[in-house]
Symmetry: C2
Subunit: 348 residues, 2 copies
């Protein structure tokens, strides 16, 4: 890779922030300098990067001076507050929040799907929602060969999707129930231990929740298929880490299972996990901490001649968030696209 870049992680102490640091280190990302930014609350703590203890700093207007790349994972409102400052400072923000994803001039990137869309940006590149990334990585290789007409997806989303504290809440609630006590919901609206519920994001007038509409709209944008038909039911399950999805695909004509299997066995970011003898298919505990989206149970839909069914699991924090962000950053460096519109204008 080319010259090392100076990086700031905004939201360094969260579940995704921690994973970002691990990935920058394990993937030998060319880092000239790493700045860890968080809210006032976390100031004073340190995090280790390449054996070196780095202080967590409070984010402030001067934080982004001399920074080339900001990996933002501190929530939508924080991204919105700092986006202009970051871009004005000449840095590019790879944003893990939903704040800018649907803005027409913000590329929404999954490097395995639409890397070329990252070429033109105004300093902000958006990282899609976790369930969208996992779905896209698994089905785009099929769509490329033969267009998908309609997607019906049901998700099984782990607590990690709501952050490190939510994962802890499921453990605490589980222990309470095992001890014969009442579980106490704080992060989630209802007990999640030994229970499940439809995703607790705001509902629209049509009855779809925010998480479901992210899957619908973001998949259309990433695939560059504004009319792709998608419906989703998103559900929280008492799994700690890694999301699963039951996916029903309708193509414009029949899609042979053998062909789908062949395509996915060679697809980037996908690992085919199918042991039909052992009834062994993707499971969250096997997807946790892994880069690949695990795909299996590919079968001809017996209810539709042009249908395929498949099952996937992927690490929400990794490919569903941190890994995809780092891959976007690697893409920007490799293609020499790591220049914000503001920086280019300043040069020009």
């Amino acid at each position: 890779m080319s010259n090392p870049v100076s990086i700031a992680i905004l939201g360094a102490t969260g579940a995704v922030g921690t994973e970002l640091m691990e990935l920058l280190e394990s993937r030998n990302f060319p880092v000239s300098r790493l700045k860890l930014l968080a809210s006032e609350r976390s100031v004073g703590s340190t995090l280790t990067f390449k054996g070196e203890k780095l202080p967590v700093e409070a984010v402030q207007p001067s934080s982004f001076k001399g920074i080339d790349l900001v990996l933002a994972s501190a929530g939508g409102s924080t991204s919105q507050v700092w986006a202009k400052t970051i871009v004005d400072a000449g840095a590019v923000m790879v944003d893990n929040s939903s704040a800018f994803r649907m803005e027409p001039d913000v590329p929404l990137i999954v490097p395995e799907i639409n890397p070329e869309a990252a070429a033109h940006h105004r300093g902000i590149i958006a990282n899609p929602n976790c369930t969208t990334i996992l779905l896209g990585v698994a089905i785009y290789p099929l769509h490329r060969v033969q267009p998908i007409k309609r997607i019906v997806v049901s998700t099984y989303q782990s607590a990690s999707g709501a952050g490190a504290r939510a994962m802890e809440e499921v453990k605490v609630q589980s222990q309470a129930i095992l001890d014969g006590k009442e579980p106490n919901p704080e992060i989630f609206p209802y007990p999640l231990a030994f229970n499940l519920f439809p995703h607790n994001s705001p509902l629209n007038a049509e009855g779809y929740c925010g998480e479901e509409m992210k899957m619908v709209k973001e998949t259309r944008k990433i695939f560059n298929e504004p009319d792709l038909k998608i419906t989703a039911t998103c559900v929280r399950v008492p799994v700690l880490r890694a999301h699963s999805e039951a996916v029903n695909l309708e193509f414009t004509s029949p899609f042979a299972v053998t062909k789908a299997r062949e395509i996915l066995s060679e697809a980037p970011g996908v690992k085919l996990v199918e042991d039909w003898q052992q009834n062994y298919f993707p499971m969250p505990i096997d997807a946790s901490g892994k880069d690949d989206v695990l795909v299996g149970r590919i079968r001809q839909d017996i209810s539709h001649p042009n249908g395929l069914e498949l099952w996937l699991c992927g690490d929400q924090i990794r490919k569903g968030a941190a890994l995809n962000a780092v891959q976007i950053a690697e893409l920007l460096i490799e293609k020499n696209w790591l220049k914000s519109a503001a920086a280019m204008a300043a040069v020009g």
Copy 2:
């Protein structure tokens, strides 16, 4: 109700058996005599019915003499072993196993859907699979008004589906993981605590598992719609009791959400649970121990003009098994259909 009947419960000590006793008592079922049958292993134990301690007896050929009705819930092989003996003794067997469900001369009954099909039998009435019952109760009222063309369903099945020992296994595994130990799968092939996996029933050549094909074939038989198009993905989740299902329905023409809501709010065995303000919908913990199938999140499918999406939870042990069996027994008594073919032949 009419004259009290003498009842034997085959498999009295299991999760469903225990629930059958509770239901016979709480519903004031007209029981003249109750015989508790189980394998040799359980002999010596007692169970309480209406304040009286009843011994658990080992099942043997003479067990069914003088019995009018056998509620069988000891697994398919046990039902197969004893069916002829039961029928020859002049009793009717309401069988909770899958052994006879698809036999053409065995009625497969959900009293809310096809009670009339129970009129003609040869001594065996089959109780459908849990996921099938819950689905049927929720969607048949819509199908009756406007035919369903295709169903795409994903399940979220609790440990209770595999019996009382499986529920215990999930608790033991959860405690192990919380204590930092390795979970130890015994009943299930893989750890279920904080994990999930596609249903571990045998796979057919098309890649569908037994549980999925039960939903497909049994729904067609109960609805008396041999060509109904259904596809299912069945998944085990770390919930103790009550199954959930994400259901996508395609009708032959558009089905107004308001109409669906109105129909389901009055449908027998269904409780509409929808608080759109509080984002509160059916959850396993709310469905546990309840008779009704909880249905909610009814919405127009944005991917298909004739589609509806809905979400349901129901108690697998109760309506999914024991309650439905008791309701079948009540139906047989009420309609005076409690006479096996053998008994009728003997009389004739």
